[in-house]
């Protein structure tokens, strides 16, 4: 009988401890979620406050009852925001498209074709992953300048159309496709290129889509190279645009208009993320790093 009492007490104390743990876990998680979300909330909120009311608030209010679209109009008219967006979309799409073609061809060669020195060359490729961008950017800058390609899309795009890491990722994926399929295609007299387009690419589409999205995100956020290579606002990407807006745009005081620009720049990526959430997170956890 005595042991039975003990057991009951044990059960009870454990349940209480469990409840406490749950509570603190949710508290911590919610706290950080708020820290993450707050800047987004603040930028949207500020972007719909009018210039006058924003400056009148010494203590900023946490909501507004009279949202205005004025700042968005301002953002699109007084600075060439639309131009920045257009440039970035073009840059992102062109770079990504070119890169997809280049890496698919290379990954296929490494995964399926046999040639002398394949393993050696692949090892060399992998070792290239260790080269930090900061080292090579200097010479690239000089090269592009000497080729007179500053302030051109060619100059912007060229250095980032290969990625050793994505070649590696894709090669691994190609190799998972049974080699029998390749042999069967050979027996049927299918050419390599046809096999690549008709068999490998459709099978490996999920990986290709992941790479595509990750590259677009990377392009959308790229800042350093565009900054070095462009000083003509006609070629600015959004990152440089935002920096330009901050330093010379609406004047430092027009915060609401600035925030409107920030919202416009952030929304496309957030939409892309929410649409492809699973794919992006899976792709990143497979080895993407920021920057």
């Amino acid at each position: 009988m005595e042991t039975k009492m003990d057991y009951e007490k044990l059960e009870k104390s454990e349940r209480t401890a469990e409840r406490f743990r749950k509570f603190f876990t949710y508290l911590l998680l919610t706290f950080w979620a708020l820290i993450v979300l707050f800047p987004f909330y603040w930028m949207v909120l500020t972007s719909v406050k009018s210039y006058a009311s924003y400056n009148a608030e010494y203590v900023p209010s946490f909501f507004t009852l009279s949202p205005t679209g004025e700042n968005y109009r301002e953002a699109f008219t007084s600075v060439p925001l639309l131009g920045y967006l257009g440039n970035t979309v073009f840059f992102a799409l062109a770079t990504t498209a070119l890169m997809m073609a280049v890496i698919t061809l290379s990954a296929f060669a490494f995964a399926r074709l046999r040639f002398r020195g394949r393993n050696l060359l692949f090892t060399l490729f992998l070792s290239l992953m260790m080269i930090p961008n900061e080292l090579v950017v200097i010479t690239n800058f000089v090269t592009i300048t000497n080729l007179d390609l500053r302030n051109t899309f060619t100059g912007l795009i060229l250095p980032s159309v290969t990625s050793v890491f994505y070649i590696y990722l894709l090669k691994e994926n190609f190799e998972q496709v049974p080699e029998e399929l390749y042999r069967a295609a050979k027996v049927d007299g299918t050419s390599d290129l046809k096999y690549l387009c008709r068999v490998l690419i459709p099978i490996c589409r999920p990986t290709l889509v992941t790479i595509l999205i990750l590259k677009i995100i990377e392009c959308w956020n790229s800042y350093v190279w565009p900054r070095l290579i462009t000083d003509d606002p006609n070629y600015y990407l959004v990152s440089n645009g935002i920096q330009e807006i901050r330093e010379n745009g609406f004047g430092r005081e027009n915060v609401p208009a600035m925030m409107a620009a920030v919202v416009v720049i952030s929304v496309p990526l957030i939409v892309l993320f929410l649409a492809f959430r699973k794919k992006i997170m899976e792709g990143v956890s497979r080895g993407g790093t920021k920057g």
Binding site: T3, K4, Y7, L10, E11, E14
Partner: protein, 370 residues
């Protein structure tokens, strides 16, 4: 330690989007495991045997019903307070710890007055290791051991706490066929030596039959039959149990009872006194056939498989629903493999009658038809 399971029921909330219905893993489970016995929970995958084990262990709490260890009710008690040792299917040995550290792990968890001295722990660890004969491997990591050795380490880790109850989840499924035979002997020996009440789960009837004191056959969360292995084999409660136990499996033929006789393919095969006329299923164990030239059961001979000690005759019969009939007879019998037909008599002790619809056993005193 005697274990009593009373009206145990476990339901899981439905996970599929379409059917929100709860899934019943274990239904109204009543069983008493006598102190010191080795009990095998047996059934096809998904029959609820692992859930039952987890309920005994305390990793899951029952939806209804009670569990007693001896006189203590432990129904909702956390596993660490139950004094159970568990061996997991994949052994769950910590890969970063050596064998010795793995075995010591449960002892090091204890706090306060339960904590043993260093020497005592060492002694207990050595004892457990000796019991399962891994004393030579103490400084290795689990990754450097074979499957059988890992299994022993897992058992040692479960035993070192001197548990009241030892639970094994599919203990042999990760071993190759030869090791399986050897290891099941080991388990039996260790259980005998320690006298700890032991429950293990398996889907392999041969494994369960060979080492258990008692088996529990389950299907879809419901106990089908319990008892000593030979009793269950010789006296199955229903067609499911009859089919599940025994390799090669029992032959099932369609027949009927008329005039207190069992008829197969239009001929009386056995007499069944006191059974009313009805359609029945007749289960005949492979060893239940006698090769007789004047036997009542005529079959078409398909082939003869020689297995050394025995031979097995594969034959077809219109009464047999699924596949052919397989009969195992002594290799000394003279069988002409080129004959086109073969005739059998049936041993009454090896044949069982089942109701056609419910597939429940019809208990009858079967006798050879004169």
């Amino acid at each position: 330690m005697k274990i009593v399971l009373r009206n145990l029921t476990k339901t899981f909330p439905g996970r599929k989007k379409k059917s929100r219905e709860d899934v019943t893993a274990v239904k109204d489970f009543n069983f008493e495991i006598p102190d010191g016995e080795l009990v095998g929970l047996l059934g096809p995958s998904g029959c609820g045997k692992s859930t039952t084990l987890n309920l005994i262990c305390g990793l899951e709490n029952p939806t209804q019903g009670q569990i007693f260890f001896g006189e203590d009710e432990v129904t909702n008690l956390a596993p660490e307070h139950r004094g159970v040792g568990m061996v997991f299917q994949n052994y769950a040995l910590y890969p970063h710890l050596t064998v010795k550290q793995n075995i010591l792990f449960p002892l090091q968890n204890r706090k306060g007055k339960d904590r043993l001295s260093k020497e005592e722990m060492e002694k207990r660890m050595k004892e457990a290791a000796r019991l399962v004969q891994i004393d030579a491997l103490l400084d290795r990591k689990p990754g450097e051991l074979s499957g059988g050795q890992q299994q022993r380490v897992a058992i040692a880790r479960a035993l070192v706490k001197m548990p009241r109850v030892l639970l094994l989840d599919e203990p042999l499924s990760n071993l190759d066929a030869r090791l399986r035979l050897q290891t099941r002997e080991e388990i039996r020996k260790i259980q005998r030596a320690t006298g700890i009440t032991t429950v293990f789960v398996t889907h392999d009837q041969e494994e369960a039959m060979s080492i258990s004191d008692r088996i529990v056959v389950m299907k879809e969360g419901v106990i089908q039959q319990t008892g000593r292995p030979q009793e269950v084999y010789d006296d199955p409660a229903n067609l499911f149990v009859a089919k599940f136990l025994g390799t090669p499996p029992i032959n099932v033929l369609e027949g009927y009872v008329k005039d207190e006789k069992v008829w197969l393919a239009g001929r009386p095969v056995l007499s069944a006194r006191g059974i009313p006329a009805q359609e029945v299923l007749v289960g005949i164990r492979p060893e239940g056939f006698l090769l007789r030239e004047d036997g009542p059961l005529a079959c078409r001979m398909e082939r003869v498989e020689v297995m050394g000690r025995d031979i097995s005759i594969v034959a077809s019969q219109e009464a047999c629903r699924e596949g052919g009939i397989r009969a195992i007879i002594s290799a000394e019998s003279a069988v002409d493999p080129h004959a086109s037909s073969v005739r059998f008599a049936v041993k009454p002790a090896k044949a069982f009658l089942f109701e056609k619809d419910s597939q429940e056993r019809i208990r009858a005193r079967l006798q050879t038809e004169e």
